[in-house]
């Protein structure tokens, strides 16, 4: 039982985090909270990929013996490919958040509010 929980725990945590982010995006009326939800959603995906890169008994992907002529065993290092993908994903996430916040600033200047419904009422007038 405890082995099963330990083997599945990253996936469950990812699922919960993903749904928390989705709730922030579809359930909240404030646009700032929707951006925060987007950010949480991204972290869930990042954690999913990073947990997929783990290996039993492996260390971080730096080949310290590479200049000494020792042959590196790939089973000694965690899978580096998800780390690369998530490194780019994190920076793109920061860029997305920046652009979203700049849109929020200009929306606030236009409507004077960041509440979705008040904004819609303002637009219908």
């Amino acid at each position: 039982m405890i082995d099963e929980v330990a083997a599945r725990f990253p996936y469950w945590a990812t699922a919960v985090l993903l749904v928390v982010g989705l709730y922030g995006m579809i359930g909240k009326r404030s646009l700032v909270k929707q951006v925060i939800g987007l950010s949480i959603f991204q972290s869930a995906i990042i954690l999913f990929f990073i947990s997929g890169s783990l290996l039993e008994g492996a260390t971080l992907p730096i080949l310290y013996g590479v200049h000494g002529g020792e042959h590196a065993d790939p089973d000694d290092f965690v899978n580096p490919l998800p780390h690369v993908l998530m490194l780019t994903a994190i920076v793109v996430g920061v860029a997305i958040t920046g652009v979203a916040l700049s849109f929020l600033v200009s929306i606030y200047r236009e409507f004077g509010t960041l509440d979705e419904r008040e904004m819609l009422d303002e637009m219908r007038k």
Partner: protein, 98 residues
């Protein structure tokens, strides 16, 4: 409406947890993701790139087109922020005291 949404989200959690039963265990050395590409990349880094950091080797050598596109994304995001925020700031300055 709120109840419907919470039911949907709880159903989504249940679906994802159920689907995770088919995924490989945590830190499983025999998972397909760890068997397929990672050993090749490690060997190629060791024999051709000859630098210790696998992540840098993949990021800037094997997947350098990806990183190029990603740098363009960052640059475009910066330009987008400049274009969104700077134009609206210049409007009140024109009829200001300048």
């Amino acid at each position: 409406m709120k109840l419907l949404m919470l039911t949907f989200l709880a159903g989504l959690v249940a679906l994802l947890v159920w689907a995770s039963a088919d995924l490989p265990d945590r830190a499983d050395p025999h998972a397909p993701a760890n068997r397929h590409l990672s050993p090749e990349l490690t060997e190629m880094t060791e024999s051709e790139v000859v630098i210790p950091n696998l992540v840098s080797a993949i990021l800037a050598d094997f997947r350098s087109y990806d990183t190029l596109g990603e740098t363009f994304v960052i640059f475009t995001a910066g330009l987008a922020v400049v274009l969104v925020l700077q134009r609206s700031r210049r409007v009140p300055e024109e009829d200001g005291d300048e």
